[in-house]
């Protein structure tokens, strides 16, 4: 009887010891699982930051991947920051492997209303960022997998040309385009007694529809940001007042008027759409392939400087009242597209418009914008 009781006691003690050990292990496993989740979130953050940074560089691998990607395309993403630092987030005695890839879930080259985009790469799609972390424990030269976690996040993205292409290429392919062939008093819209407008363009393009039918940037689904305020432009550093730089990487729509006081430089390629513009000083490119298009959708573009402005100026609207006004001698390196020029409001004298060749090749003016908003988040252990 004593032996039986002793055996029972021994078994009871052994069982309890095992339960206690399992309890300790499960507590540690839970901690490591949390670490894996945090690590996968860190990978996602770095992947998104790398994506946005690389998309500003048209020569980057990610830019070229997304420019020609079709639904289902995949691309591995290298994350040097995580490669160096992720192990610092793990408890001593643990290490990890990780991977991160981009996947195009879907890509459409037609607008939601059914019209097809004219640019051969233009379209909108859904991009997935997939991050996976495997955590290992190394003991006595053995590497044992402890936990793994996978995080998948979807973002919408746009591929848009900054030159609003039609079937023949850039719609901004002439130095001067006036939609109204006759001015309000029946005179030629580009000839005035006091104003001498000199147009310099190296190449001529014959394939151009009647300018009165010309529409530009009318696919709203390709606008990267809409209904911004002037404060939003400053807050999002699209207009950076500290460095006096216009950081353009897509089509941005702003309500109200935009006024450029002082000297500005253009970085990147993009379109600013607003009700009207006032330019009071020079605007120059920071590099040769930079490109800026200012599109006044409701009013005029007023240029109150004789310094060089390197931008395409568009002032057209459905009422046909968009116009460009040069209050000083115009020195424009770009192009003009307007309903009318209203030369009676221009300063008498000589004005120069030199066509910018970067406005002629739509293949070199694509921008890819990835939304900040997450449209899907998948979390789990499945591979």
């Amino acid at each position: 009887m004593v032996m039986v009781l002793a055996a029972c006691l021994g078994m009871l003690a052994l069982s309890y010891f095992r339960v206690a050990t399992e309890s300790r292990h499960s507590s540690k496993w839970h901690e490591i699982k949390n670490t894996a989740i945090e690590a996968s979130r860190s990978l996602q953050e770095e992947a998104y930051a790398t994506l946005i940074k690389d998309l500003k560089n048209p020569k980057s691998q990610i830019f070229w991947f997304l420019l020609g990607a079709v639904s289902g395309a995949r691309n591995e993403l290298r994350l040097p920051f995580a490669r160096q630092n992720l192990v610092k987030t793990l408890p001593p005695g643990y290490d990890c492997d990780f991977s991160c890839e981009l996947k195009v879930i879907s890509f459409k080259n037609t607008a939601p209303e059914g019209k097809s985009y004219h640019g051969k790469h233009e379209g909108h799609g859904i991009l997935a960022i997939r991050a996976r972390v495997d955590i290992f424990r190394t003991t006595d030269q053995q590497r044992k997998s402890i936990s793994h976690h996978e995080l998948e996040i979807h973002h919408d993205y746009l591929v848009a040309s900054m030159l609003s292409p039609d079937q023949h290429g850039s719609t901004l392919r002439k130095a001067l385009l006036i939609r109204k062939e006759r001015g309000c008093n029946g005179q030629n819209p580009v000839i005035s007694e006091n104003v001498q407008l000199q147009i310099l363009q190296n190449e001529t393009h014959d394939h151009l529809e009647k300018p009165e039918n010309l529409q530009v940037f009318n696919h709203f689904s390709l606008w990267a940001r809409r209904d911004l305020t002037s404060d939003d432009l400053l807050r999002q550093r699209i207009i950076d007042t500290t460095t006096r730089t216009l950081n353009l990487n897509g089509i941005y729509h702003c309500r109200g008027q935009i006024v450029f006081d002082g000297q500005w430089q253009i970085r990147g390629q993009g379109v600013l759409i607003a009700d009207n513009f006032v330019i009071n000083n020079s605007i120059k490119k920071s590099e040769s392939n930079a490109l800026a298009v200012f599109f006044a959708r409701r009013g005029n573009i007023r240029i109150n400087t004789d310094k060089e402005v390197q931008a395409a100026l568009i002032a057209i609207n459905n009422n046909g009242t968009g116009s460009i006004e040069a209050l000083q001698s115009l020195n424009l390196n770009g192009m003009i597209l307007a309903d009318s020029l209203n030369l009676q409001h221009w300063k008498p004298g000589k004005h120069i418009v030199v066509y910018d060749q970067t406005l002629s090749d739509p293949d070199k003016a694509y921008q890819i914008s990835v939304s900040r908003w997450i449209s899907y988040l998948g979390n789990g252990e499945n591979s």
Binding site: V2, L5, L9, L12, A13, Y16, A20, S23, S27, H30, E31, N34, T35, E38, A39, R41, S42, E45, E46, Y48, A49, T50, I52, K53, P80, F81, A82, Q84, N85, L86, K88, T89, L90, P91
Partner: protein, 149 residues
């Protein structure tokens, strides 16, 4: 007069008491240890939640504001020193279970950079304020918070 009924001998009675004592002390020991384990698990859970809370708040503050901050306090969170956890924070509006007030929390931050990508390593440790075996009850969590463009 002597009884005919057989009884327990003293040694038998003593042996039975010994066995009973051993069994009952084992059971008491197990109940006590089980309670201790349950309490440890509860404290570990709370500790992990307090760590995660800090990481979430710091993630929402973002790299730019965290890297610019040179104060010892960020949104009611003290850096580099053990700080007792309160059940409610007026500044952040976060309310916690009453049991959280038995913990202290330490947060450290380290700026990191690689190939033009910036980030912050945030380490959070939580431990019981009064514990004889504090090393067993300390819970830690780390995360890399990246600079977002």
């Amino acid at each position: 007069m002597k009884s005919d009924k057989p009884g327990f001998m003293l040694t038998e009675a003593l042996l039975a008491m010994l066995i009973l004592g051993l069994i009952s002390s084992s059971i008491f020991f197990m109940i006590s240890a089980s309670n201790r384990n349950s309490m440890n698990a509860w404290h570990s859970l709370l500790g992990e939640q307090l760590c995660s809370e800090t990481i979430e708040v710091f993630r929402s503050i973002g790299y730019n504001r965290l890297s610019d901050c040179h104060d010892q306090y960020i949104a009611d969170y003290q850096l580099n020193e053990w700080q007792p956890v309160t059940a409610a924070s007026k500044l952040t509006g976060i309310s916690r279970p009453e049991a959280c007030s038995v913990f202290a929390r330490k947060i450290t931050m380290q700026l990191l950079e690689k190939d033009g990508i910036n980030g912050i390593l945030v380490k959070v440790s939580v431990k019981l304020l009064k514990s004889s075996r504090s090393e067993d009850n300390e819970v830690s969590c780390s995360a890399l918070l990246m600079e977002q463009p």
